[in-house]
């Protein structure tokens, strides 16, 4: 198959009478052949613009796009051989599914028999055989998405681009379609970029993820890298459900960060005392130590920041809400003197009531530290 590379890719929109809008500010990406890369970011971060530039639907302001080592910036969309499954499917309403699939082949002047056999072939692969004579209007969202995917794939594109492929599907269809997508992409081995604002989609499908914000890639890595060691506050906050707890504090000596007069947490990084930082602790990395010692406040536990979970010091907290969600609950806690609530994922057996006092401990190894000013991770 083909590898894809973006080199310092930029897009600037000129708006008359206003400063130009920089939608994409120089992104560099290398995709191995057959790799599925997730371009993840909030709406307006430039991910769709990047996708449209790769497809050739948008002019490139600067930089280069290499498909199989050759620059395609000057090549018009119709000659790029890039398949796109659009977010809203963009199926031609008056045509049947079969004609929708064959539309692109017909444009390339393929003989009718070849078109018909390739349409049948693709329909079989993607599970559309029974729907070939249906019109898009009568299909479910999941079926439309499969037709859109089949249409993008039938031309055997060098690169496949998926624009929010699951965003219009309901929960049940989402799961099956996601599994299907993964299977099809792995079977056919297309180099693929998946553009999405949905972290779950990116985490579950992508080999690597590029997290984007304001036209810049914030972090590039495997889903585990993105999740386990976020490069900055934005990535930490954007990836993870429920969202990471972000607690501002100041560094004290010997690996402590003070959050309030009575609460401090241990961290692994050694930083100069007095430095302003933000601690990031994922709800699933916090442990409840049970409700004994109710009423105790302040810092409890080992004086030294020990490396192990068992030795992690626990702090007292008051429960402000607990949502018992069968397989795991979500508890919202208040730490004394800390404005930000602390969200903790609890086990299914935990029963908590509003106002209960619990002790909670954070593993210093899993506590991320960010510079309060720049938002960059401190390691």
């Amino acid at each position: 198959m083909t590898e894809l590379a973006l080199r310092a890719l930029r897009k600037t929109y000129a708006v008359r009478g206003r400063p130009p809008v920089e939608a994409v500010r120089g992104i560099d990406l290398e995709l191995r052949s057959g790799e599925l890369l997730g371009l993840l970011g909030p709406s307006g971060c430039g991910k769709s613009t990047a996708l449209r530039m790769i497809a050739g639907l948008e002019d490139v302001t600067g930089g280069d796009i290499l498909v199989g080592g050759a620059s395609v910036v000057a090549v018009p969309a119709r000659q790029r051989n890039i398949g796109v499954a659009f977010e809203n499917y963009a199926l031609y309403p008056p045509l049947t599914v079969a004609d929708n699939l064959g539309f692109g082949l017909a444009a390339r002047g393929r003989p009718r028999e070849e078109v018909a056999s390739r349409v049948r072939d693709m329909a079989e692969r993607i599970g559309l055989t029974g729907l070939l004579d249906a019109r898009p209007g009568g299909l479910s969202s999941g079926q439309k998405q499969r037709v859109a995917l089949a249409r993008a794939l039938i031309r055997e594109p060098d690169v496949l681009l998926l624009d929010e492929p699951l965003s219009h599907l309901d929960a049940a269809q989402r799961d099956t379609t996601r599994r299907e997508l993964k299977r099809i992409q792995q079977d056919l081995g297309h180099t693929t970029i998946l553009v999405t604002h949905d972290q779950e989609e990116a985490l579950s499908l992508a080999d690597r993820i590029a997290v984007m914000k304001d036209g810049v890639i914030q972090q590039l890595g495997t889903p585990y890298e993105i999740y386990d060691s976020p490069a900055n506050l934005f990535v930490a906050d954007f990836v993870g459900e429920p969202a990471i707890n972000l607690l501002p504090g100041a560094v004290e000596e010997r690996g402590w960060v003070r959050l309030s007069d009575t609460v401090r947490l241990a961290v692994q990084v050694r930083l100069a005392a007095g430095r302003e930082v933000v601690l990031g602790i994922r709800p699933e990395d916090l442990r409840l130590a049970g409700g004994e010692g109710a009423g105790a406040s302040g810092v409890v536990g080992a004086g030294e920041a020990a490396a192990g979970l068992e030795a992690a010091p626990a702090v007292a907290a008051r429960v402000s809400a607990h949502e018992p969600l069968l397989e795991a609950g979500i508890a919202t806690l208040a730490l004394e003197g800390v404005a930000e609530p602390l969200v903790v994922q609890t086990g299914p057996e935990v029963r908590l009531g509003r106002g209960d006092t619990v002790r909670v401990s954070a593993d210093p190894r899993l506590t991320h530290v960010f510079d309060a000013e720049t938002g960059e991770a401190l390691r």
């Binding site: 008359r16 497809a55 050739g56 639907l57 018009p76 969309a77 119709r78 000659q79 790029r80 890039i82 398949g83 796109v84 659009f86 977010e87 809203n88 499917y89 963009a90 031609y92 309403p93 008056p94 539309f103 692109g104 444009a107 390339r108 249409r151 993008a152 031309r155």
Partner: protein
């Protein structure tokens, strides 16, 4: 009780409006069926005759008004104007819907301004121009000047139809290997067919009913029914029966067109290309 009275009053009002709206048409029909000597009678007598229609439709009648020719002129000029407007206006509407280029809004507004400036304000310079250019009393001249009527309508209405189309449809076609032009003809245009039908009918009716342009810019060769129907009023005695018959005959083409296009008009209202 009160409610019933109200209902009766409402019905009464509706009937009154019904009579008000339809009376002129009924009068026209009666007028067109009367023999000339009963036109001005003060008592009611009605012995219907189709003589007026025979006179109006008989080419080169003794009245010296070649009405069938005006009828053909109207058809040629109106269809020509709508056809030309479609050829120019559809690409223009598409461009205006898809791209924001320098001055695009000004251009669209200028086009619209042709509709709200009364035709009479420009008719004298137009008359002089047409005389000088040899366009006076020609099909070309009439089709050209009717663009002021049909083009803004077609461009403005079709622009909103194209705007409602998801651009991704054409982009998908581009990626499928079509050129911009092919994407326009093969994807965008077929999807706005109901809109084209509706707007063509409207434009045709406006062109057909136009009075001022043929009144000033034609004399005999390219004169249309709207002006032609009035020529029966000239001479020593106004022949209202002939005018009425001519007017009724000239209602037929727009009416037929509206009836044939009707199903597209309904589809045009309930049409959705892309689920959003």
């Amino acid at each position: 009780m009160k409610r019933r009275l109200l209902a009766i009053a409402a019905d009464g009002a509706l009937i009154l409006y019904f009579v008000f709206a339809l009376f002129p048409i009924a009068w026209m029909i009666i007028l067109s069926l009367k023999p000339p000597n009963e036109l001005f009678s003060t008592y009611f007598s009605f012995a219907p005759t189709l003589d007026s229609y025979r006179t109006v439709l008989g080419a080169g009648s003794d009245e010296g008004v070649p009405f069938p020719r005006f009828f053909v002129n109207s058809l040629v000029v109106s269809l020509g104007a709508v056809g030309l407007s479609l050829v120019i206006g559809l690409p223009a509407a598409y461009a205006a819907a898809r791209w924001r280029f320098r001055g695009s809004e000004n251009l669209m507004f200028t086009l619209l301004s042709f509709r709200f400036a009364p035709e009479l304000t420009v008719i004298i310079p137009l008359f002089v121009l047409y005389q000088k250019l040899g366009l006076f009393d020609t099909y070309v001249g009439m089709i050209w000047v009717l663009q002021l009527v049909t083009l803004p309508l077609i461009v403005w209405i079709m622009r909103s139809y194209f705007s409602d189309l998801s651009p991704e449809l054409e982009q998908a076609a581009l990626l499928d290997g079509y050129t911009r032009k092919q994407a326009f003809f093969k994807v965008a245009l077929p999807l706005v067919k109901p809109g084209i039908a509706a707007v063509s009918l409207l434009a045709f009716i406006f062109a057909w009913n136009n009075f001022v342009f043929p009144l000033i810019l034609t004399s005999s060769e390219a004169q249309t029914v709207t002006v032609g129907a009035l020529s029966f009023l000239g001479g020593d005695r106004p022949k209202y029966n002939l005018t009425a018959a001519a007017a009724l005959v000239s209602v037929i083409p727009p009416l037929l067109l509206a009836l044939t296009i009707q199903r597209y008009l309904v589809r045009g209202l309930s049409f959705g290309a892309v689920k959003s």
